[in-house]
């Protein structure tokens, strides 16, 4: 028998677990289909890692047709990380797992401001220099893009390629 929350399994079709449960950590569920690797990038996992990481992409979902899931052991996400995930996957849910149980489950909210985690696409922007400042972007209404607060450049496409 397996009595765990659906959010922790990616098992909404009842065809068995895709990956093992985690004891402690975070399950990011309902990621837009195909965006899981970008979520992993946001989490800063690009090379060697100590954490147990499971990624499921384009799995069947009742509500989303296809969704991605990322499970990461022994790590709880910061607000900044959750905000960045919201930008590329506004339907994602964040499940905090402690001792195999979902202790917290929250949707993500598109923030109004993004600081320090997105590179301005404009090479002439002052944020692309060695000045002691972080990039700052206002999120456009509906999360349709980002506007640099320094040079007013707008990012509407391929946002993940600008994530630092």
């Amino acid at each position: 028998m397996r009595h765990i929350a659906a959010a922790d399994t990616g098992d909404e079709e009842g065809e068995g677990l895709l990956v093992r449960r985690i004891k402690n950590g975070t399950v990011i569920d309902h990621i837009d289909g195909g965006e899981a690797l970008n979520v992993v990038k946001i989490l800063g996992i690009a090379g060697t890692t100590q954490e147990a990481l499971s990624i499921a992409t384009n799995v069947p979902s009742k509500n989303m047709v296809k969704k991605d899931i990322v499970k990461i052991s022994n790590r709880e996400l910061s607000k900044e990380e959750v905000d960045r995930i919201a930008l590329i996957s506004p339907n994602a849910t964040i499940n905090i797992i402690r001792n195999f149980k979902v202790c917290e489950k929250e949707g993500v909210e598109i923030p109004t401001m993004i600081t320090g985690s997105v590179r301005c696409p404009n090479p002439g922007c002052i944020t692309r220099t060695n000045e002691p400042i972080k990039s700052r972007f206002a999120v456009l209404p509906g999360g349709k893009g980002l506007r640099c607060l320094y040079c007013d450049s707008v990012i509407t496409k391929d946002l993940t390629s600008y994530i630092i």
Binding site: G124, C125, I126, T127, I133, C148, L149, D152, V154
Partner: protein
């Protein structure tokens, strides 16, 4: 120079740093540090900088008011204030037809002026070489504010409908070779003949310096207001300095 003139006429003095070599930035100092230091030397900072957003950064680190006198290809708001003042001397701004001509992509005076004109219900006409059109993000912002923007291929097709013709310099470095530059530059040249069918009250503005964009024969025309515009830079900048330092 006009800010220095403005400050002198207000009875104050100014310390000018006209090149990176003349300050500690040549030694690798950041703009942020330079601004912190200069904040202790002056009652206001007027900054012109090649990077977009530099003035905003300066305002974050300064302890005194900062005026943006041009940031890269970004904005030039003090020029816009004197542009508006010059237009207002000739006509009401609300609802008029204004054409922006030249390098509208990198032309910071055009960016700031277009943004300001959106507040007056102005119909904006743009004439620029391919690749040098207004930045799409700015166009989106302006149209969201309800501004009507009409692109034209030539000045001739719209000149009869204009109240203001705002000409900017097309910079040679934007083109792959001299021939391409001269071909484009000549097609955007304002001449007395071009304005023959224009409205009587049309005014021609230019932020200066000009190169070949405006035929010198036009200087004596009642349409030509660019030197008056330049002169207006002093009282407008006096007003700005007074306002930020009071």
């Amino acid at each position: 120079m006009s800010f220095e003139s403005a400050m002198a006429r207000l009875g104050g003095s100014s310390i000018s740093v006209s090149s990176v070599e003349a300050c500690s930035m040549a030694k690798g100092e950041t703009l942020a540090d330079t601004i912190r230091v200069v904040s202790g030397y002056a009652d206001a900072i007027v900054i012109r900088h090649p990077k977009e957003g530099a003035a905003r950064l300066a305002a974050e680190f300064a302890k005194v008011p900062v005026i943006n006198a041009g940031d890269g290809a970004g904005q030039h708001p003090s020029q816009t204030l004197l542009d508006l003042y010059t237009i207002r001397q000739s006509m009401k701004i609300d609802g008029i037809d204004v054409a922006l001509v030249g390098d509208l992509r990198y032309g910071r005076t055009a960016h700031s002026l277009a943004s300001a004109l959106a507040l007056y219900g102005v119909r904006l006409h743009t004439i620029s070489p391919p690749g040098l059109e207004l930045p799409p993000a700015l166009v989106s912002s302006l149209t969201e504010q309800g501004m009507e923007i009409i692109e034209h291929d030539t000045i001739e097709e719209v000149v009869r409908d204009l109240d203001v013709l705002y000409v900017t310099r097309v910079q040679r470095e934007r083109f792959p070779d001299s021939t391409s530059y001269f071909n484009v530059a000549s097609s955007y040249r304002i001449t007395p003949e071009l304005l023959a069918g224009a409205r009587k009250h049309l005014i021609v503005l230019h932020p200066l310096p000009r190169v070949d964009e405006i035929d010198p024969r036009l200087d004596a025309s009642p349409h030509a207001k660019y030197f008056e515009q330049s002169k207006n830079g002093v009282p407008v900048r006096m007003a700005m300095l007074l306002d930020v330092m009071k």
